[in-house]
């Protein structure tokens, strides 16, 4: 099972004992994850994430489990140059976090087009935690679905992955977005969530995201197990869709 969305490193919402690479890898392996796309936790909490990306990437060089997913800020004047550096280093997936960094998802039109031209998959993080539980003083607004649909529709053939959608948002995104729009299962929750998403939208645009260490990786595994999927469909959701998109 490939996890397309997890984080490593310290941050204000996760206890340090849960956020090291070793701790997260152990939890993910326990849940049946065989490789994981990982972003730097500190990159979520600074609008200048470059240094956090560099630290993550250097620490992941020897890993046969983690694949680094850099966090970019599309409002940086040199963001396309940064993207180019990652492409040269054979990184095929990047992430943006509009809610954390304080810009609208629609600010990423140019970056999205640049990703298309370079065969890079763009991950848009819709939220990282339940807004009701965000400590006062930490501003982490959810990203409006309409903004993401607008971004996805601007370059309809380009792969775009939405991480952290709630179940109803996932239905809305898959129903109204282009075929190139995918969602991860990390924060989507309702009874039979995987079965219902597949029944409504097919299995080709769903991805496993653990959202560790914010969430227990056992959760996404439980959603998959509860669905009782036929093998071919299970393989789509847990492996093949992720590989096709660059993980």
């Amino acid at each position: 099972m490939i996890d397309v969305s997890c984080f490593v490193g310290d941050g204000p919402l996760v206890r340090p004992e849960h956020s090291s690479a070793a701790a997260i890898e152990a939890r993910l392996r326990q849940a049946g994850v065989t490789s994981a796309g990982v972003s730097a936790m500190p990159a979520l909490f600074t609008a200048a994430p470059r240094q956090a990306n560099d630290v993550l990437i250097s620490s992941m060089v020897a890993s046969d489990f983690f694949v680094a997913v850099p966090v970019l800020n599309p409002t940086d004047v040199d963001v396309v140059d940064q993207l180019e550096e990652h492409v040269k280093a054979r990184r095929r997936v990047i992430r943006i976090v509009p809610g954390c960094h304080g810009y609208p998802a629609t600010a990423a039109y140019e970056l999205h087009r640049a990703c298309v031209a370079r065969g890079v998959t763009l991950v848009v993080q819709l939220r990282i935690v339940d807004a009701r539980s965000v400590p006062l003083g930490l501003h982490l607004p959810d990203v409006p679905v309409a903004d993401v649909l607008s971004l996805a529709s601007s370059t309809r053939s380009a792969p775009l992955v939405v991480a952290g959608a709630r179940a109803q948002e996932a239905h809305q995104l898959l129903a109204n977005g282009p075929r190139s729009l995918h969602v991860d299962l990390s924060l989507a929750e309702e009874p039979d969530v995987v079965r219902r998403l597949i029944a409504a939208h097919g299995s080709g645009r769903l991805l496993v995201g653990s959202h560790a260490p914010f969430l227990t990786p056992a959760a996404v595994r439980a959603k998959i197990d509860a669905a009782g999927l036929p093998l071919s469909v299970l393989r789509d959701v847990t492996v093949d869709n992720a590989r096709r998109l660059g993980w």
Binding site: H18, R27, A31, G32, A131, R132, S133, E190, L215, A219
Partner: protein, 267 residues
């Protein structure tokens, strides 16, 4: 290809709901969907309450309380081995609530009480109702949350629950939503041995159940899903994915609920 992970057996879900505020997800019958979905995850008993026959009612009138509890009663009668009723009461309507207690707990099969967000649990207007509940010796499932946005005036925090617990140490309070309590909420209730917490509330946050075990002990934690607002399988992963001992897990997944709710001992 990966196989399914083992599913615990004979678990008790101490927090779930019925009523027209929710849609069935497999067939036409919400209670049947809940029973079947839970059974697939090894959940053999579920504590259910209905917060309104027409949607979720924050301030139900007496007739609305009666209609809501009728939904629970019909489901419990249909699934007596799987569903266990909590009677929905409102301290804004003491007389009607005491009548509902009589109807469903004294004269009926319900095993406890559900209080939601009509009034904070620290409000003195609860007193008459709580005194009657104390006489009956049944637990109270009380909603609580520390919200940074979106709270309502009558919504209890864990501190409100602690105030009630201190005033009525003989009443067992099941504080809902470990996921909404946070470390601060656990600190509030920790000194009060008559308060237990259920694991429902928000997302399956890593480390949350382990922390609660450290702060309260496993014998004060009950598995609760809050289905169908949340998914029983995902909710269960909070406990199955926690780094705790098998003995602690067994207590949380059913042992505590069977000890604290008399009607569940036969499950």
């Amino acid at each position: 290809m990966m196989g399914s992970l083992p599913v615990p057996t004979a678990s008790i879900d101490a927090h779930a709901h019925l009523g027209s505020g929710f849609q069935p997800w497999r067939g036409r019958d919400l209670a049947e969907d809940l029973v079947r979905t839970s059974a697939e995850r090894g959940i053999t008993g579920t504590l259910v309450s209905t917060l309104g026959a027409e949607g979720l009612l924050e301030h139900p009138r007496p007739e609305e309380l009666r209609a809501a509890n009728e939904i629970t009663r019909r489901a419990v009668e249909r699934w007596p081995e799987n569903l266990f009723g909590l009677v929905y009461l409102s301290p804004e309507h003491i007389r009607a609530s005491i009548e509902e207690l009589q109807r469903h707990v004294v004269d009926g099969p319900f095993v406890g009480v559900k209080l939601w967000i009509a009034l904070r649990s620290s409000d003195r207007r609860l007193d008459l109702l709580i005194e009657r509940i104390a006489e009956l010796g049944v637990p109270v499932l009380q909603h609580a949350w520390y919200k940074s946005v979106g709270g309502t005036p009558g919504e209890s925090t864990p501190l409100d629950v602690a105030v009630l617990a201190r005033r009525y140490p003989e009443v067992l309070l099941q504080m809902a939503h470990l996921g909404g309590a946070g470390a601060r909420g656990l600190r509030d209730i920790a000194p009060h041995a008559n308060v237990v917490v259920d694991t429902s509330g928000s997302d399956p946050v890593l480390g949350e159940v382990e922390y609660a075990v450290q702060q309260l002990g496993a014998d004060r934690i009950l598995f609760g899903s809050d289905a169908p607002i949340r998914d029983p399988a995902t909710a269960l992963s909070k406990v199955t994915g926690a780094a705790i001992t098998d003995e602690e897990r067994d207590l949380i997944l059913g042992g505590n609920a069977r000890r604290l709710y008399r009607g569940l001992r036969r499950t």
